[in-house]
């Protein structure tokens, strides 16, 4: 008996809710639109925010390397210290899901001369041995012409010359150079000894605006070979390794401490210019993103609240009638809360789906790469919308004070 009455009650309850929802199609549309738009923007922003922070930290790597691995400076007095090239293998290739790029560098003061028709007098320059094809990974801001260095051939070394070296030597792409560490010298017996350099062909010209404009980059192995011939210098040594670690400043910090733990014999440090500056900028940008999500949530809430206020105004007669025929205030409330929750759910489900699609498009517009849809964002956005809808039903509280008699008399 009890249960039959209960099920009847429930049936009636949902019937009234259904009627409430579809009674006024226009209003239903406005509320659904408000909730849906809110849910869409919230879902899009939440998804984008997760993605944007990661993308921004990836963008930071346009600034180039942010970590340097160098020898311990104990023997700094005895020439420039070196470290074993094998260290390169101990640097992780991945860090917290993003690729880590590491490029070794060797520096020597040497000379170059142009070999077109005749030799030009040798020009003293800083020779940099590195991996030419990997250069772009640690220095994406550099302007290389052509944008990918000419390919390697078996016969010649390739080199990339700084823009100012190129203009000083008046060389162009594909010209041949002689690259050496020591210029020719006069031997004790008076004869001129020629220290043979290596032949190189210009595979690219680099403009950086910094000291690299005055340098000549050649393949690491070629410079190591020259150094070994000239100084009997051990092979497989490098002066430093530049590492480009993507990720938030904290992730970079973790990378540095992890690497200095695995490589106790070398010095691993962040390039302060980058780490410190990026830290500041990152905290600003992530603050901005959080603020914008809050603002949009606030606006959604206000939007739904406005719609619900209208509902409250419109429902005075209904509530008056319900109360007159014996509806308890609490039950009437439950009725409206159920309506709000249903509306929130419907608006949220539709809006959040639209928002996910929107965020993919937005990501494409802002970062050039479509934002990854994150499944977790969808339920979160729907839940937020339902909560906002229920909270916005607050104006309905005023219905508690409705006096059936005055409503029926038509008093405002």
């Amino acid at each position: 008996m009890m249960s039959a009455a209960g099920s009847k009650n429930r049936q009636m309850f949902w019937r009234i809710v259904r009627r409430l929802l579809v009674a006024n199609r226009g209003r239903l549309l406005v509320i659904l639109l408000a909730l849906g738009a809110g849910a869409a923007v919230t879902a899009a922003l939440l998804n984008l925010q997760v993605d944007a922070k990661r993308r921004i930290t990836t963008e930071f790597r346009t600034l180039g390397a942010n970590v340097i691995v160098s020898p311990r400076g104990a023997d700094a007095a005895a020439g420039r210290p070196t470290l074993d090239e094998a260290v390169l293998e101990s640097i992780p290739k991945q860090w917290e899901g993003a690729p880590v790029r590491a490029v070794p560098f060797v520096y020597y003061v040497g000379h170059v001369r142009r070999m077109v028709r005749e030799f030009t007098p040798p020009e003293r320059v800083v020779l940099v041995g590195t991996r030419i094809d990997a250069l772009h990974a640690v220095a994406p801001g550099w302007k290389l012409e052509p944008s990918t260095p000419l390919p390697l051939t078996l016969q010649v070394n390739r080199c990339i010359v700084g823009a100012r070296v190129a203009s000083k030597l008046q060389t162009a792409l594909r010209d041949n150079l002689e690259v050496g560490i020591l210029p020719s010298a006069v031997l004790p017996d008076g004869r001129e000894k020629d220290y043979p350099g290596a032949f190189g062909r210009i595979a690219g010209v680099v403009t950086t605006g910094g000291s690299e404009d005055d340098q000549v980059f050649i393949e690491l192995s070629a410079l190591q070979k020259l150094a070994a011939e000239d100084f009997a210098f051990p092979l497989d040594r490098v002066n430093l390794i530049q590492v480009s670690v993507p990720g938030a400043p904290q992730a970079v910090e973790r990378f540095i401490s992890e690497l200095s733990r695995t490589l106790p014999n070398v010095n691993v440090r962040g390039i302060r210019q980058m780490t410190e500056g990026e830290g500041k900028i990152y905290s600003r940008i992530s603050g901005l993103l959080t603020a914008t999500v809050l603002i949009v949530l606030l606006l959604t809430g206000l939007c739904v609240m406005a719609a619900m206020t209208n509902v409250a105004m419109e429902r005075r007669n209904d509530v008056g009638l319900m109360k007159a025929i014996g509806g308890a205030t609490r039950r009437v409330f439950r009725l409206f809360l159920a309506e709000a929750a249903l509306l929130g759910l419907a608006g949220g489900l539709m809006g959040a789906a639209a928002g996910m699609v929107l965020s993919i498009w937005l990501g494409k517009q802002v970062f050039g790469v479509a934002a990854q849809p994150r499944p977790i964002v969808y339920p979160v956005a729907v839940a937020l919308t339902v909560i906002v809808a229920i909270l916005s039903a607050y104006p309905l509280r005023r219905l508690a004070s409705v006096r059936p008699a005055s409503v029926f008399r038509g008093e405002a």
Binding site: A34, A52, T208
Partner: protein, 451 residues
């Protein structure tokens, strides 16, 4: 009669109108805050990016190639060209002088020196010859520059390289015989060579003594601070540029100048070669604070120099700024849209609510135009009041947000006020126009009967 009707509608149900205006102003406050912050964010972030350091490098035009490894120039002091320090204040006379937030000349060289407690010159001779090479970087720190309007402006390496921290002590004074010691040099105690202590570290208060060979007496510099730069400077001694000049025998000259300037991210237009531009385009290029046009204006006042854009900093800054700006504008647009929807919906509702009133007016002989005009006037009044209050609330909100994120509040701007008022007016009108249009087709009789 018209005004009386409008006034009546406001005074008869004040609570209702206050509520509507309050809701409207809340939304407009949020919009104001979003707009003010987004308008301001470009400038704010651009100045944050200056913590990445200088974006322009000035070097002599007719120079031999510098042999720079890890910040030390391996050229002898007598090789290469120099630039006159006396020209530097001219940088603050260029068109973009307000965008130039700092500059520092550099004269670096390698010296032999030793740490030395007290002023006693005895004992120096014994160690002579075994001292290591130390790089000496002459520059400015908090250096006063006299400007054309007779005010002084302080600049130096502490502004162009904000990641150089003096962790202990202070920066040197520009006139004194003082120096700031890199943290590795300050700490490095007891490095031995052939059983002799060759370098003992330079704690604050010690003298750093530069050996000038047999012909000249050594220079005594008092260490007043310890520098932590996280770079090769940690192994160097930083001195006022005058001392480096004296040692290099190049009075009043420098080799490199770092300039830190606020700039607008470069677009395709900025990347074009100014030589190929038409006069009107050239003018537009000169009048936009692109880093390349700032470089060109500096080159104009410093003859014989080569002003280069440090691409690593400028490119990265440009990309990130563009991305963040695009993101924020989209978000602001979304906020505007959400607010517009809310305002439109509530003004539509307020018209629907007054259907009986509209019916009565029409029954008494008012045309649809008159009724529409009356309601529009009411909505507009509401929009301006709500928009105005919302603007003032929004400015406070924007101040809070700006202060929290950037530590600087965005300045109230007339543009935002206009935009907010226009948005409020436009959206309320559009929102009420739709139900009004429907109301104009109503027959008064059924409405009055309550059907």
């Amino acid at each position: 009669m018209f005004l009386r009707l409008v006034a009546d509608s406001f005074t008869r149900r004040p609570r209702r109108k206050v509520l509507t205006a309050a809701a409207l102003s809340l939304r407009m406050a949020v919009v104001t805050a979003a707009l003010s912050v987004s308008l301001d964010v470009g400038d704010r972030l651009a100045s944050e990016f200056r913590s990445l350091g200088a974006n322009l490098l000035v070097t002599p035009e007719a120079d031999s190639l510098p042999l720079d490894i890890g910040g030390v120039d391996y050229r002898p002091v007598n090789a290469g060209a120099y630039l006159p320090e006396a020209d530097l204040p001219k940088i603050k006379t260029v068109f973009w002088h307000n965008n130039i937030i700092g500059f520092a000349p550099i004269l670096g060289l390698s010296v032999r020196g030793v740490s030395h407690a007290g002023d006693d010159e005895k004992g120096l001779g014994e160690d002579r010859g075994s001292w290591p090479q130390v790089s000496l970087i002459g520059t400015w720190a908090n250096h006063p520059v006299r400007l054309a309007d007779q005010t002084t402006w302080n600049t130096g390496i502490n502004q162009t390289n904000p990641w150089w921290h003096v962790v202990k002590g202070r920066w040197f004074s520009n006139a004194g015989w003082e120096c700031v010691v890199g943290k590795n040099l300050a700490r490095e105690r007891g490095a031995f060579q052939n059983g002799r202590r060759v370098f003992s570290g330079i704690p604050i208060g010690d003298n750093f003594v530069i050996d000038r060979g047999p012909s000249a007496p050594p220079l005594f510099l008092k260490a007043v601070g310890i520098l932590d730069s996280g770079g090769p400077e940690d192994d160097a001694v930083i001195v006022p540029i005058a001392i480096a000049q004296q040692f290099a025998n190049r009075p009043g000259q420098y080799r490199q100048l770092y300039v830190s300037a606020l700039s607008k991210p470069e677009d395709d237009f900025a990347r074009r070669d100014p030589a190929t531009m038409k006069p009107a385009e050239l003018e537009r290029w000169m009048c936009s604070p692109y880093i390349s046009s700032i470089a060109a204006s500096i080159k104009e006042v410093l003859p014989g120099t080569d002003v280069r854009v440090i691409r690593r900093v400028a490119e990265g800054e440009g990309t990130i700024l563009r991305r963040v700006r695009a993101l924020l504008w989209m978000v602001t647009f979304a906020a505007l849209l959400a607010a517009a929807l809310a305002v439109g919906a509530s003004s539509a509702a307020s018209v629907i609510e007054r259907r009986t009133e509209i019916g009565l007016m029409k029954a008494l002989g008012a045309g649809s135009g008159t009724v529409g005009f009356l309601l529009a006037a009411e909505q507009l009044l509401l929009a301006f009041v709500g928009g105005g209050i919302g603007y003032s609330l929004g400015i406070i909100l924007a101040r809070l947000v700006g202060q929290k994120i950037f530590g600087v509040a965005p300045a109230p701007s007339l543009l935002v006020l206009t935009a907010v008022l226009a948005l409020a007016a436009g959206v309320t009108l559009v929102g009420s126009a739709i139900p009004l249009h429907r109301a104009s087709r109503y027959e008064p009789a059924p409405i009055l009967r309550g059907e």
